[in-house]
């Protein structure tokens, strides 16, 4: 076979292209699991089973327990990502459910080339973008807009300082202000911020989920923090 020449391109898309072009054989998917493999997986303690193990059990044995274990393992991360993106519990629950229905619909095609969480978050992200489109929410309301005159100063939302550490204590109202402000960031900044700040996800992995170069993702996170800080400054945070 002739060697495949892959021109250098930065970013995860290029990496995937490279992998696809140089692969000689398709990677095994969950549906290729053999009886011996399944027996071995079933012999493992539940917590020792990998995500791929659980998918194999689900695809080959229609194990609802395996599916439930998979959902329970990742539900907090996936749900929080969706919830912090859409800001509404009802919509977040819908999107969460649809995400995992898509997961099982495509479970037989999943290969461990990407981490399960990355794959799952990509699905959740696409469904979230669909939600914006459907609800006409694509145009975010800029948090750069001037606050209304009747809005309270954020200074009043701070609960003062801890006498021992000297740290500023954060009130519930301020947290709610920030939570709402996050939902008003541009989509790409919001996605990057949520995955970085709340999930503590490495930039490389965020880049995979968002299908964007790592440098761009860093820029989005920095911009998001900057926008939030500017907003809070205008609201009186010194």
């Amino acid at each position: 076979m002739m060697p495949v020449s892959v021109p250098f391109q930065a970013g995860p898309v290029a990496r995937r292209l490279s992998e696809q072009q140089t692969e000689k054989l398709p990677k095994p998917t969950a549906k290729h699991a053999t009886a011996a493999e399944l027996k071995s997986i079933e012999g493992k303690q539940p917590e020792e089973r990998s995500d791929f193990d659980l998918l194999k059990l689900y695809v080959k044995k229609k194990s609802n327990e395996a599916f439930e274990a998979l959902v329970n393992r990742h539900r907090r991360q996936v749900y929080n990502f969706i919830y912090k993106m859409v800001g509404r519990a009802e919509a977040a629950e819908d999107i969460f459910q649809e995400t995992f229905l898509r997961v099982i619909k495509n479970a037989h095609t999943y290969t461990p080339r990407a981490k399960f969480t990355t794959w799952c978050l990509q699905i959740a992200r696409n469904l979230t973008l669909d939600y914006y489109k459907r609800e006409g929410l694509r145009q975010h309301v800029s948090i750069d807009a001037s606050p209304n005159d009747d809005e309270r100063s954020l200074a009043g939302l701070l609960q003062g300082s801890d006498p021992e550490s000297g740290e500023i204590l954060v009130s519930r109202e301020l947290i709610e202000e920030v939570r709402l402000a996050v939902t008003r960031l541009p989509e790409n900044q919001r996605e990057a911020l949520v995955l970085r700040i709340y999930d503590d996800m490495p930039y490389a992995e965020i880049a995979e989920v968002l299908d964007s170069p790592e440098g761009t993702v860093k820029y989005w996170v920095h911009e998001a923090v900057n926008s939030l800080a500017r907003y809070l400054e205008r609201r009186g945070l010194k």
Partner: protein
């Protein structure tokens, strides 16, 4: 990268040691930079303090229930499920008659109902069909497969959602959903009922009463397709009789309740007159009473034995047509094709301020109503500016221009000083609507049976049935 950007990168640990050193040296002496660091620290602390949320157990259970219906390995060989005709279909007390369709749709409809009841009917023998949309109602959410019939009962609201729009079923409605391809919006066939279709992001195609309607992107269309239909379920727990000929209702009473009603005393032509009545929890006597009450304006009587129907000629009562279609374009643009004729549907105009567009009661009939006719027609109305996905309801006999952003509901409308009616305003910024428990809400949606509110201080949307709302 300017200094502030560098500061942010430094605080997030994104600068190398070499990049950090000059910034740290400056931070030791620069008061403005120290102030900025303080603000950024406060911001990051508040951002990190936002608590994590968890999905509700109810939603998880809905997911697990929906997942249990999906075949995870569609292309593998396995024992083929029974074809429709071989399936063990058992619909209990359900009797359903569709007067305008053939046998096959009836079987399909029964199959869907049996499926919903968990009676093991395979809708998609052989292979898994793609998910076309999702349906959400008070009970939860489930996926819609290609060709599936989605129904809503009287007083029930169901919402079909997909990537680029939504279809709202407002009680006693039925819509079939068809896939048009992996990356395309589904197509819809409205079989009956009141339905609001929103083409939010792409055009949509729908069929109703043998008419083809195309909604352009951004259009919102209300359809009221009132047609012959009957459903009596669970010993009268649900009774829907709509535009059914009097003679047929008598036959229905016998099938559902075992009551023999003799229609021999009614002239043949009068037996074909159609009646509508609805109810829940109707026993045999209550069913007959409802029937006679709805038929009495045609001169139908019942003797003391409650077995023999009679007729006393009565002038001036117009019989119901077999069906009536009303379509109103609420937002954007759309067109309707009926036979060889294509109509461009009109939205609000100075002459017809309340949205009515088309009304038809015959196969080739498709006409745009003028303002004068408006007062005689069912009108779906709303001040939909800025609220294109809001739910809308009908208004009868009104030709008053509605204020912007106003939605009116038949039961509660205040127009021309008529009693027992009320105007609601949608989507306002204030939480000023009194709710049970002394809370305040912001009205976001009206349905046939109640209203949905966003509740002040809570991240919830709450549905409050009419009659339970505090009056202001």
């Amino acid at each position: 990268m300017d200094t502030r950007e560098k500061l942010i990168a430094w605080m997030l640990g994104d600068l190398s040691a070499e990049e950090s050193r000059p910034l740290e040296a400056r931070l030791a002496t620069d008061a403005e930079l120290q102030r900025q660091r303080s603000v950024l620290e406060g911001t990051l602390r508040a951002a990190r303090a936002v608590p994590s949320a968890d999905i509700s157990q109810a939603a998880l259970q809905r997911l697990f229930s929906a997942a249990a219906l999906i075949d995870p390995e569609p292309e593998e060989t396995r024992a083929a499920p029974a074809a429709h005709g071989d399936a063990d279909i058992h619909v209990g007390e359900l009797i359903r008659i569709d007067f305008m369709r053939g046998v096959l749709p009836r079987v399909a409809a029964v199959a869907v109902i049996a499926f919903v009841l968990g009676l093991g009917v395979w809708l998609t023998p052989g292979e898994l069909q793609p998910t076309v949309a999702t349906v959400r109602d008070d009970k939860g959410m489930h996926v819609v497969l290609d060709g599936e019939l989605v129904e809503a009962r009287v007083g029930e609201t169901r919402r079909i959602t997909f990537a680029t729009g939504e279809v709202l079923l407002d009680g006693a409605s039925s819509v079939r959903v068809r896939s048009t391809g992996a990356n395309s919006a589904p197509a819809f066939e409205i079989e009956r009922g009141r339905v609001v279709v929103t083409a939010a992001a792409t055009p949509l195609e729908l069929k109703v009463a043998d008419r083809d309607v195309r909604l352009d992107k951004g259009a919102v269309l209300a359809v009221d397709y009132d047609r012959a239909y009957a459903n009596i379920a669970d010993n009268g727990a649900v009774v829907e009789v709509q535009r059914v000929p009097i003679g047929e209702v008598a036959a229905l009473a016998e099938k559902a309740y075992g009551i023999k009603l003799d229609v021999g005393g009614i002239p043949e032509n009068v037996r074909k007159y159609r009646v509508s009545f609805y109810g829940s929890g109707l026993d045999a006597d209550a069913f007959v009473d409802s029937f006679i009450e709805s038929a009495s304006h045609f001169g139908i009587t019942l003797d003391d034995s409650r077995r023999y129907l009679g007729y006393q000629s009565r002038a001036g009562t117009a019989p119901l047509e077999e069906w009536q279609l009303n379509i109103a374009l609420l937002e954007g643009s759309a067109s309707l094709r009926a036979g060889a004729e294509t109509l461009q549907l009109a939205g609000r105009t100075p002459e017809a301020p309340n949205f009515v567009s088309v009304s038809a009661a015959a196969a080739t009939d498709a006409r745009t109503l003028d303002a004068e006719a408006l007062s005689e027609q069912v009108v779906w109305a709303a001040g939909a500016e800025g609220a294109p996905i809001r739910h809308l309801r009908d208004v009868r006999q009104s030709n008053e221009t509605l204020p912007s952003r106003t939605v009116i509901h038949t039961d509660t409308l205040v127009l021309n000083g008529e009693q027992g009616r009320r105007i609601f305003k949608l989507g306002g910024p204030e939480f000023d609507f009194p709710l049970p428990g002394g809370r305040k809400g912001r009205l976001v949606q009206l349905t046939s049976s109640g209203a949905a509110f966003e509740v002040e201080g809570e991240l919830v949307r709450e549905f409050v049935p009419f009659g339970q709302q505090a009056q202001d």
